[in-house]
Structures are given as C-alpha cells and as structure tokens.
C-alpha cells in the first residue's frame, strides 16, 4: 500500500456521509449524449451501494462519491427498490449506470441484482453504459452481463495514461496496462469501452494537466470508443478539497479544455466529449474574468454532442492572454497555482 493511500485513509475519516433511505438512488438525471453520431436522450442513475471497495480503503484523491455510499449496506431488495424508483422514467436513449464505485463489483451489486437491472433496461434502452473499475472486467462477468444486454459499453475511469500521475497524484490503484487488459476483454465479447480521463488532478500545473490530457487521449484512443474528459472539480471532504482550501489547487481553466479538444480533434477514431460540471464556480472548471464561463461550458457541451469544431468558433474573451501566460509561467511557482 502506498503512503498516498495512508494519507487518503486519514482523509476519509473526516468525510461526511450523506444520509439517505436505502431504497433511494443517490442521484438520477437526464441529459443529452451522442449515439452513433446523433444526439440522443441520456439517463444517468447513481445507485446507492455499500460504496466503492477502493474508496473504502482510502481511494482517489479527488473522489467525493464515497459520500454517496449508504451508511448501512443496502440489501439486494433495497437495490432493486432503488431501480424501481426510477425505471418508469426511462423510455429510450442511453442509460448510464453508476454506483459510487463499480457496478460490476459483486460486493456492491450482487450478480442477480445486476442481471435483473440489465435485462429490465434492455427492454427500453438503446445502449447501456456501466461504470466499473478494470478489476471487474473479467471474462466471467462480461459474458454474464452480455447475456442480458444487447448493447453494452463498459466505462472505466483510467484518468490518465501516465501511471505515475494515476498512482501518486490520484491514488487510483491500478495501472494503464490493467485498463488495456479490461478493454481487450470487453472487445473480445463485442463490448465497447468508454474511457474517463481526469483533467488536472492535484500537483500538476495547468500546462502539465493540459499536455497530460492530450497525451492520455491519444494513448487510450486505440482502446476506447468513447473518451470522456472529466474536469476535476473540488468535491467536499476530498484531498483535492483540502488542497483547494490551502491554496494549493485550482480547477482547470475552460480555455485549457477547449484547447485539449481542439488539439485532439481528428487525431483519434474515438468520440471525445466532456461535461463541464460546476463550470464557472470556484470549485469547478473556470476561466478568470468571471464572464465567459457559461459560453465556454455551452460550447464544450455542443462540441461533445456534435463533434464539430464550429462549436468553438465564436469563443473569445479578454482573459485568453492571462491563460496563455499562466501556461507559460506557472511552473515558476514551484508548487502552487499562479492565478486562482
């Protein structure tokens, strides 16, 4: 176990758990996503389980989802009741299933519950995306899941292709080779892979984070049909939260996100998208002037749905020069953001 994990175990002791009825989902919302090049409706369900096994052992430095784990482990009936509470609202489109950990972890979601949910969704959904850590992408689990779903995609938070960053900045606990293996297992069963990348984990400058995203996307593209770039936001109780409070962390600039998407455009065969959660807030991705954030967030969402660079055509703002200077000079702080 790394020392960073010990730090995370200490960190988790201070984290509050949200109290909820065990028959309620942690969250459910609808939005838009892209399916075979066409925008379509999407449903996101976050189940309340006993929590991510990795998170319970410390977990990732930016992850606050452990707060969505149930205080007492929900029974299989509770999990099915959670599903029933939202299933009626699902008619068509993409369904994305999350827990605060891995849907394919039988410790979180027992196999028969998993199969029941997948086969029920198969009646309505055009595509089901399931998030899991690569440990649970095995022949046995994938072939079982495949039995109940016509169109399944496995989403894995590989975060970066740089093992050093994944281990010593994020504390993810698996290697890039684990992700590749999982992707190959899925592919062998005709199942696609979605890779989640993490833009700007802690201890990186803006420029380092930007370069890491471009490189990571190029590195994961051969193994991922879809690449979703998550923009690190500051979730309560996390190590990133503490660093943020101590002025040692700043979320990514939206300028950087656009730059990453521009630089990657046409360079991969994958769909590349990003959902700028909490954009414009101090704890979310933001620029400097406080005026242009929503225009940037809209453009990034539009690009994600259209895969068309025209989305960025009219983006401009006086704070661009400051962003560029920040990229150039931030390493000269030797350990803190240059502009907050």
């Amino acid at each position: 176990m790394t020392a960073l994990n010990n730090i995370m175990i200490e960190q988790r002791k201070r984290q509050k758990i949200n109290e909820r009825s065990p028959t309620e989902v942690a969250a459910y919302w609808t939005g838009e996503d892209i399916l075979d090049g066409m925008p379509t409706k999407s449903h996101t369900i976050i189940f309340q389980t006993r929590g991510c096994f990795w998170g319970l052992k410390g977990g990732c430095t930016m992850c606050g989802y452990i707060a969505d784990a149930a205080a007492r482990p929900p029974s299989p009936q509770d999990l099915l009741a959670q599903f029933d509470s939202v299933s009626r609202r699902i008619d068509h489109g993409i369904v994305k299933i999350f827990t605060s950990g891995s849907f394919f972890d039988p410790g979180e979601v027992p196999e028969f519950v998993r199969d029941k949910i997948l086969s029920a969704l198969n009646l309505y959904a055009d595509k089901v995306i399931v998030e899991t850590r690569p440990e649970f992408v095995t022949d046995r689990i994938i072939s079982a899941a495949k039995l109940h779903t016509d169109r399944l995609e496995v989403a894995i938070g590989v975060e970066t292709s740089n093992d050093d960053i994944r281990q010593n900045s994020i504390n993810k606990g698996f290697l890039f080779s684990d992700f590749i293996r999982a992707s190959e297992v899925s592919r062998a069963h005709g199942i696609t892979t979605k890779a989640y990348l993490m833009m700007k984990p802690p201890f990186l400058t803006e420029n380092e984070a930007l370069e890491d995203m471009v490189k990571s996307a190029l590195d994961v593209a051969p193994y991922a049909d879809t690449i979703s770039i998550n923009l690190c936001n500051v979730q309560r109780g996390t190590l990133v939260d503490e660093l943020f409070y101590r002025k040692a962390y700043r979320p990514p600039w939206l300028w950087s996100v656009v730059e990453v998407l521009r630089r990657l455009h046409g360079k991969t065969g994958s769909v590349i998208m990003s959902d700028p959660l909490a954009a414009g807030q101090p704890r979310g991705p933001h620029n400097f002037c406080g005026k242009c954030d929503s225009a940037f967030a809209d453009a990034i969402r539009r690009y994600s749905l259209t895969q068309d660079l025209k989305a960025f055509d009219r983006l401009n703002c006086g704070c661009r020069a400051l962003w560029e200077k920040t990229l150039e000079l931030e390493q000269w702080t030797f350990g803190s953001p240059l502009v907050y």
Partner: protein, 598 residues
C-alpha cells in the same frame, strides 16, 4: 560546501551576495522567466519527468513535486525527494524546499509555492525562519512568483536573495499597474504616474488602445522596471546599513506587510541573530516599529543584564538631539551647574526609543547614533517602554536616592516608573531656578548619604569598564581596566593604557571599543567572543572556511579574539559567530592585529 554563492554584505537578515556563475551575478537578483531566463533550469514535475538535468552555468533543479506551506505534513513527507547527495554533475544545484523539510547539498533553495502565502504574514515569516534554519547560511534563497515592487523590500529584509518577474508579469496580464506603494487597476487610471521607459512614451489612452497582448506586455515591462528599481534601492540601503528604516516606510502600503514586519520583530531571535551590534550608520526612529527593532531591544537588554552602577545617587536627565548627549547645550548646562558635585552622582539619560542610557554608555551604538521624531508628546507605548526601562534600571542597581531633573513628558514617564524620586525641575531643565534646585538636592543627598566621589580619571576609566561590560559581558570591564590605567586622546576618541601598553580605543564612528591583542587577552576572551582558526597565520582577513569554532553569540561588528595554534590576534567580526561555524564561504573576521606564535 557551496561553491556557487557568497555573501558579501549583510544588513540584518538582508544580504548582498554573488551567484558565482556567468562571471558573477550580484544578489538580490531578479530572474526573468518571462524572458526565458535560463539561470535556473527546472527538471519539472517528478510525476512526469525523471530525467535529471545538468546545465553548466545554471542552477539545476531535479524533478520534484513542490508543495506549498499550508499542505499537510504527510504529503510533504510523501513527496520528499530522496536525500541522496545532489551534486548536479558538479554544476550549481537548486532545490525546491518546503519549510518542514531538510534537503542537503544545494547551492540555491527555492521556497515551494510561496505564491500561495501572499498576504499571509505568519506563514511567510515562518517559511523564512524555518528554511533558513534548515539550510546553510552561505546558500542562496529564492522566493519564487511572489515579488512585487510593493513587497520586495520586506522579502529581501527577511532574507530573499533571488526573486523573479513572474508575479509582476502575471499581474500585468490581470491589468494591474504596480507601483512601490500599491497597485492600480489599469481601468481606474487617468494618467500614468511614472516616468519609466514603458510609461514615458505613452498615455493611458494610447495604452488602452493597444491589442491586449501588446498592452499587457507593456504593462509587464513597467511592472518589472518598478521591481528592478526597488531592488536597486534596497541594495543601496543594505550597503548603507539602513534597510530597516526603509522597510519601516515600505511596509505601510499593505496591512499584511506591516504585520509581517511586526511579527518578525516579535520573533526577535531570527533578526537578532543577524543584526550587527555596532555600525557607523545612523539609526532613524520614525515609526512606532522603531522601538521594537533589534538594536533598541538589545541595547535595553544589555543595560539591564550587563550594566551595574556603583553609585548611591542617581540623576535622571532628558535626552538631547545632539549626540553624544554630553556635547549638547542642555547637558553642558547641567554639568556646569553641578560643578564639583557631579562626581557624587551617576547620570542616566531618559530617551525614546532607547529607554535609559547610562552616561558611561553614551558613546555606544546606537545611543550615539539615533535620531527620533520629537514632538514633545509621547504616545502610550513609548511611555510604557521607557518607564519600564527606567524601573528596571532602578531595580537592578542600588541607588539610595533618585533625583529626576526632567521636564515636560519626561516627568510623567518618571512618575510612571513608580519608584521613589525627587523632582528638581520647575519648568525648563536649564532654567536658573531648576538648576539651583538640582544643585540643592544633590548637595543634600551628598550630606545625608556621603557617597564616594568619583574623580574625572575614575570616570574616564569607568567609561571603558562599562563599555567592556556592555560589549563582552558583565565583569569583563574589571578585567580590562587596570586600577592604575590611564586614558589619553581627544574626546571622544579615547585610548586606554596600562602604563605604556595600549589596551583599547573608543571608536566613536562604530560606537564600540577597538581592542588590542593585550586588551583582548586581559578580558580572557578565550571562551567568549573568540574565533578559533586552523593552523595558519592569517594575512589580511579570515575567511569562513578557516574558522574551526567561534562563539555563537558573536554578531557582525563585534570585536573578537582570534586564536589558533600558529597565531593570535584581534579583529572585527563580519558575520555572526554561528554563521562562521556553518558557512563555507565569505569573510568572517577583518583582522586588525595578528601575532605569530612560535
């Protein structure tokens, strides 16, 4: 041993030094990352890079993860670099350091993430103190991405040797027009209040009409020029030994900078360990912080702990603008009025901010060197400080009668000391009426107490005794001054002899004694104020590597005894004793007399 940095001048924690690359670069130095300066070459983030770099003529930084002051200890520990000897292939080495982390072997240390503690005076002061205690004194300290024209005097005052143009540049790109006394939003300016190269050819209108990048670059140029101007000015003040006066002014523009100075004064030990004991520059007391500066506190401390009077009758008199006090008209009037009675009293001068100055110490630095803003009104802090000094003085000595010949606010200060005393002045201390009352009271005291008279020769010897006690510790004066010693020379440059042997001279410019070898020997300075050197006979000055051991309480300006197996001598310390022990470079002692031992 540091081969790439040497300190040349010191003024308290501030230094002028030399980075020994590229033919020598004087510090405090501004590196210019905005101009692709490669004096410091960064190996980058250790999460991404693992290749050590080795550029000749640059300070090489191994890949690292820098963590700012406030992050938790376990993270600092987790990312601590492996402490293997970082020799940078023989090239200069820079190391990114957190205040809770010791890293050996670098020539230049970089305060990690200092940007995050702008406006946080406690954290910044603590960073300076801790990093300085963890690193050798002859290494350079780089405070990155923090310098502005406004804060640079304080950063250098606290010990920054290297700064950069990063914050001045980035603030320009935020539209901030920086000056030595604060910043302005470009939008709020109606005129460019500056004559620098960037501003001279422009008006606010022409500046605002430029494309953003051109506009910001021009602003960055102005901001940099202002920073450079301040650094030059600060160097001038270091060379004059008057940086303190400057920072007392410059800290005013921001509350956090004022707080920084006050907190540094409250820490005392950090500045005290670096502040000279004697020097030839003036000490100007123009602010309330002046009273808390090391020189003032140290003087009061030594009067309290090292000075003892043998008199029975104490006479308190007000200070004068002219120094030494006894050359002033008011003091001469009092002295003349006392006439032969003067030999029965011991005089002490009441003054802000020095507290109390015994007559015997009136030539000592800074008693003879200060000037203070005089309005006739004393504020509460001054009163309480000076009356406290007076109370201590009375309590630590054995006077049987205290006569206060004072006027105006001094009366209240004396009263506030809360000790029994007789007031003799009826108005101005030099009025005939006041002076005759004074003489009456002294005469009365002499009749009642019959104190031992002290003749002029004895008084002169006492000056040497008390100065030696003040400088080298209680009891040293009796060792130095023989009962039949004689004093020669023109005031105030007196010289002390024992028969024909010269022992020491008063150096009025520095406000201290200048010892001969004989004088130093008499005080047996072999365990105090000594500098032990290796087996050589020094020619000229003694460099730090030649020092084997030294008294840690030595401060720049102290006269010291130099001892070694091959030579003995005296000289004036150029750095503190603890620094002589730890430093591998720089002049330690300026020798005055050396004798070869056979």
């Amino acid at each position: 041993m540091t081969r790439f940095f040497e300190v040349m001048h010191r003024d308290s924690a501030a230094r002028i030094g030399r980075l020994m690359v590229r033919g020598g670069i004087e510090t405090p130095h501004i590196v210019r990352p905005s101009q692709h300066d490669d004096l410091i070459v960064d190996g980058g983030n250790a999460l991404i890079h693992d290749q050590a770099i080795s550029a000749p003529n640059s300070f090489n930084i191994a890949p690292h993860v820098g963590l700012p002051y406030h992050v938790r200890d376990d993270l600092v520990h987790f990312f601590a670099p492996s402490n293997k000897e970082n020799d940078g292939a023989g090239y200069p080495v820079g190391a990114v350091i957190h205040p809770d982390q010791a890293i050996q072997g670098a020539d230049l240390y970089i305060m990690a993430g200092a940007r995050s503690i702008e406006g946080d005076p406690r954290a910044l002061l603590d960073s300076f103190i801790k990093i300085r205690s963890l690193t050798r004194p002859d290494t350079a300290l780089y405070v990155p991405a923090l310098a502005t024209p406004e804060n640079i005097p304080l950063l250098i005052y606290l010990g920054a040797d290297v700064v950069d143009d990063v914050l001045t540049t980035i603030k320009a790109y935020q539209g901030h027009y920086l000056t030595a006394d604060g910043w302005f939003d470009l939008e709020e300016l109606s005129d460019l209040p500056c004559n620098c190269e960037a501003c001279r050819g422009n008006t606010i209108e022409s500046l605002m009409a430029l494309q953003p990048v051109e506009k910001y670059d021009l602003l960055a140029k102005h901001n940099y020029l202002k920073l450079e101007e301040e650094v030059k000015r600060v160097k001038l003040h270091i060379r004059r030994g008057m940086l303190r006066e400057y920072v007392e002014k410059q800290c005013r523009s921001q509350p956090w900078l004022t707080a920084l100075l006050r907190l540094a004064d409250a820490e005392y030990g950090y500045l005290e360990a670096r502040t000279p004991t004697y020097r030839s520059s003036e000490l100007l007391a123009c602010s309330s912080e002046s009273q808390n500066r090391v020189e003032v506190k140290r003087f009061a401390d030594r009067v309290r702990t090292r000075f003892r009077s043998d008199g029975k009758v104490l006479l308190i008199i007000p200070c004068s603008a002219r120094k030494p006090y006894s050359t002033s008209q008011s003091h001469m009037a009092i002295i003349n009025a006392l006439g032969r009675y003067r030999r029965y009293v011991r005089e002490v001068i009441l003054t802000s901010p020095m507290g109390v100055v015994p007559r015997e110490l009136e030539l000592v630095y800074p008693a003879a060197h200060y000037d203070v803003a005089v309005t006739g009104a004393w504020d509460l802090e001054e009163r309480s400080w000076v009356s406290g000094c007076l109370r201590d003085f009375i309590d630590h000595n054995r006077f049987e009668r205290v006569i206060a010949h004072v006027e105006g606010p001094y009366v209240e200060v004396c009263a506030q000391a809360d000790r029994e005393m007789i007031f003799t002045s009826t108005g101005r201390v030099t009025s005939d009426e006041s002076l005759s009352q004074l003489v009456d009271q002294v005469r009365l005291a002499v009749d009642e107490l019959s104190p031992q008279p002290r003749n002029h020769e004895q008084f002169m010897l006492d000056i040497f005794r008390k100065m030696a006690d003040y400088e080298f510790g209680k009891g040293k004066g009796d060792l130095l001054v023989p009962a039949k010693g004689s004093v020669k020379g023109r005031a105030p440059r007196f010289t002390l002899f024992d028969d024909k042997e010269q022992l020491c001279t008063i150096n009025p410019a520095y406000g201290s004694l200048t010892l001969t070898i004989a004088g130093a020997k008499r005080m047996s300075l072999s365990n105090q104020y000594f500098v032990e050197i290796a087996d050589f006979v020094p020619r000229g000055s003694i460099l730090a590597p030649g020092v084997i051991n030294a008294d840690p309480q030595i401060r720049p300006g102290d006269d010291v005894l130099i001892t070694g197996r091959k030579a003995i001598g005296v000289g004036r310390a150029k750095m503190s004793g603890w620094e002589m022990i730890r430093a591998g470079r720089g002049m330690a002692v300026e020798t005055r007399h050396m004798e070869e031992l056979k």
